[in-house]
Each structure stands twice: as C-alpha cells, then as structure tokens.
C-alpha cells in the first residue's frame, strides 16, 4: 500500500499538532489534540519497526533460554504483531524466571549468563525506544 500507514500517521500528526490544535481555544481539547498527534508519531514508528523488533527479540530470547538449558518450544503462530506479542510474552516470562535464578547463583558461568541477558535487555530497550521531535 502506498503511501504506507506510517506515512499517513505522520501526515495526520502534522495536521493535528501544527494546524488543528493551534486553531482550538487553549485548554483540554487543544492539549489532547496535540497529544493524540504525538501518539500517532509513536504509532508510525511502531508500524515501521514493531514486527522486526519482536521477531529479533523472540529469536534472541529462545537462544538465551536454550543456552541455559531451559526447555522451550514457543513459536509465533504468524508474524502479525498480535501473534508475535503472544510468543514474546511467553518467552519473557521464561526469561524473567531464568534471570532471577541466575542472579541468585554464584560463579563465573552464572555471571556470564546474567551479562548476556542484560546485554539482550539493553539491546531490546534500544530497539523499542521511541523518538519525538523537539518542540
């Protein structure tokens, strides 16, 4: 589809923030119109990278679980965001349990496994970060 959804969301956000909100009387309606515009900018970013981020996260979490002997056969039913999220939540739950167990264990292997999980969380957070224009 051309234009794509992210382009349409950004165009709509521009209309709301730069044209419609300033034309409204100052107050709740104007502020809400601007905020909806900001949310549309975020939604455009999610449209562009949301599936890719989740596919990467799910594959990396499966690797971490396997490397630490955690049985897992989680597979997303499809690459829709909804199905990827379902798998993502299942994998996150197992990763949280693994991380908590490792945090309580002494020794080099546990420390290295903990560092690998923290590196994943840092990369995941960076990929999920959303950005706004400075007003």
């Amino acid at each position: 589809m051309t234009p794509e959804a992210d382009a349409l969301l950004n165009i709509g956000a521009g209309k709301l923030i730069l044209e419609i909100a300033p034309a409204l009387p100052p107050g709740y309606a104007a502020g809400s119109a601007s905020t909806v515009g900001m949310v549309m900018i975020l939604a455009a970013q999610e449209y562009a990278k949301g599936a890719d981020t989740r596919i990467w996260e799910n594959a990396r979490m499966a690797e971490l679980l396997a490397a630490n002997g955690v049985a897992d056969d989680t597979k997303a039913a499809s690459n829709t965001i909804a199905d990827l999220n379902t798998a993502n939540s299942a994998l996150r739950t197992k990763l949280i349990a693994l991380h908590a167990k490792i945090d309580g264990e002494p020794g080099g292997p546990a420390r290295n496994a903990g560092r690998a999980i923290l590196a994943f969380l840092k990369e995941s957070a960076a990929r999920r970060r959303l950005h706004l224009p400075v007003l």
């Binding site: 107050g27 104007a30 905020t35 900001m38």
Partner: protein, 337 residues
C-alpha cells in the same frame, strides 16, 4: 466566556450555595490539559458584581495512580504557611453527591505557565535562575519538620524508607503489568540487593517534583503543584526523581532543563542543610526510573483496559515506558560490567 460542561457548572453553583451560602453564577468552566490522575478545571464566577476564579481538582472516573485527594489537599494547606510557593487550598469535598466524584478547590495562580516535557528549552535565558529556585525549594521542603507542618502521616523508619517505596511500586507493577516486564524485574532485584544508606532525616516527599509540575512567570517560580503522591520518607527520593533524565527536556546534561547536576545538588544541599550522599543517590536515581516505569505501566494498563483512555495515558504508556526501560537497562548493564 465558555462553559465546557454546563451540567457541571450548575452543580458547582449549587454546591457553593448549599455549603458556603454563596449566590454565584459560573461564567467560565474549562478543563486544563495535563496529568491523568485528577481532572483539573478552571472556574470563573460572578459574585456580587465581582469576578472571582479558582481551580477545581476532581477525581477522574478511574485514576492513573490511586492517590488520596485528602493528602494532596492537606499538603497544599500545610505548605501555604511556608516559603514553599503553593496555591491556597480552599475546600475539600469527599461527598460524591455534589459533583459525582470527590474534589477540592484551590486558588488560581494567574499569568503563570507550566513547561511541557516535550519542549527543548522551556525556561530560555531564565534556566539557571529557575534551577536555583526549583532545587532550592525542594531543599526547603526537605528541611521542614513534617510534624511542625501538621502533617502527621505514617512515617517509615529512617532505614526503611527505601524498602517501603520499593514495595509500594513493585506492587503497582504486579497489579498493572499487562505483559511481562523483564527490565522492571531485574531492576527491582538490583534495588533490593543493593540498599542505600538510611535516610539522613524523615521529610515530606512531594512524590512528583519535576519540571512541568510547577508554574513560573519569567524567571520566578510561582507555585509548586501536583502533591497527590506526597508522603513521608527519604528526601533523596524527590531529588532522584527531579534529576531523572526523562525530565531533562532532551538534554541529559541539564536536569530539569535548568542547570547541571552538580549545580542542582549544590542548590538542594544549601537549602536543606542535608547531604546528597553520592552512594545513596546511585540507588535513588535507579529507583526514580523504576518508579517512573511503574507509573507508565499503570498508564498503559488504563488504556489497555479502557478504564482511562485519556491520550496522556497512551503517550505515557508508550513513550515514557520505553524511555525508562532503556535508562534502567543501560544502568543494569553498567553495574554488572
């Protein structure tokens, strides 16, 4: 003059007549855009030929944070007698029959504005002056004796401030997460395993002391607002929150968009007479971002569940949550290195 909600205006007039014997006509009623924990309305009255105004803070149908409006009201009332600039608290009404939900009334501060956290440089050439007042006023709040202010709220022991707050916000995450939160869980474990030193003293903690939650005119702070999360605890909790990168107006080198971190802490220490122990601040900085994450998780839940779909909640549940996840994940990896 506009009346955004005629039925609410009628109810306000009826309330003032019944409880205060005032024969008034609401001439303006407009909702102010802002946080989602309370509805805030600007009200103008005509009374005996004179125009008067006040601010109405009403509980929303569903609150982002389950705060007690009596706490906020009593904080305004207590600090109005001090050097901390706050609007005068006028009336607290818990009876839901008047305006459908509990509310309180307070003085309107006119000709002053609040910064948006989205602005790049909201304070312009006044940033350093505002910063001195902002962090100095926070020090003043820390210095004052809660009992002398008449705020006899439950006080934790000096060595239990951190654990009480951590438990409070962990509970929020437990109740409100709608998807597993691995960064929050890792941060909670780190905070529990690396406790800070005991509080130097027990102070009033504002709970949401940051840029955007005060009004200013040119280079002067006119009023500190949004006391709904006030409680007693370690004053470093507020300092960590005020210094959090989310409130830096896109420049982490200028906390609050005002001054450097060193300058901010110097202003706070001078006004409070306390020390911001760097070791303790590592913990309270980390906690601030975890507390923020908990609030944004709640905001996301409100939208997800349809209980409060204010766009502010949608924004916070996406942008702010992703922001604090990254801050926490970066720090966790730094600590483990």
């Amino acid at each position: 003059m506009s009346i955004a909600d005629p039925a609410l205006a009628e109810r306000i007039s009826a309330y003032l007549k019944a409880t205060q014997g005032r024969d008034t006509q609401v001439t303006l009623l407009e909702r102010i855009h802002g946080g989602a924990s309370r509805e805030t309305w600007r009200v103008k009255l005509e009374e005996g030929g004179a125009a008067k105004g006040f601010i109405l803070r009403r509980d929303p149908p569903s609150s982002l944070i389950d705060t007690e409006r009596a706490v906020e009201f009593s904080a305004y009332r207590a600090f109005h007698k001090t050097a901390v600039p706050v609007p005068e608290a006028l009336a607290l009404e818990q009876d839901e029959s008047w305006l459908e939900r509990p509310f309180f009334l307070m003085e309107e501060i006119t000709d002053a504005v609040a910064a948006s956290v989205l602005q790049g440089q909201p304070y312009g050439d006044h940033a350093a002056r505002i910063g001195a007042q902002f962090f100095g006023t926070l020090g003043e709040i820390a210095k004052l004796d809660p009992a002398a202010l008449g705020l006899n709220w439950d006080a934790p022991a000096r060595d239990a401030c951190w654990s009480a707050e951590l438990a409070r916000w962990e509970k929020v995450i437990d109740e409100d997460e709608r998807e597993p939160q691995p960064i929050a869980r890792a941060a909670i474990r780190w905070l529990r395993n690396n406790p800070p030193p005991p509080a130097e003293k027990i102070s009033v903690v504002h709970g949401d002391y940051r840029t955007g939650n005060f009004l200013f005119r040119e280079g002067d702070i006119a009023a500190i607002l949004d006391w709904e999360m006030a409680h007693l605890g370690d004053p470093l909790e507020d300092l960590g929150w005020a210094l959090d990168p989310l409130w830096a107006h896109h420049n982490p080198e200028r906390p609050g968009g005002m001054c450097s971190r060193a300058e901010a802490i110097a202003h706070w220490e001078k006004a409070s007479g306390l020390k911001a122990d760097p070791a303790a601040m590592v913990w309270w900085d980390m906690f601030a971002s975890l507390k923020g994450l908990a609030i944004w998780i709640s905001a996301a839940a409100e939208v997800h569940d349809g209980t409060n779909t204010d766009p502010v909640n949608a924004f916070a549940g996406w942008y702010c949550l992703a922001f604090h996840n990254q801050i926490l994940a970066d720090r966790l990896q730094e600590f483990a290195a």
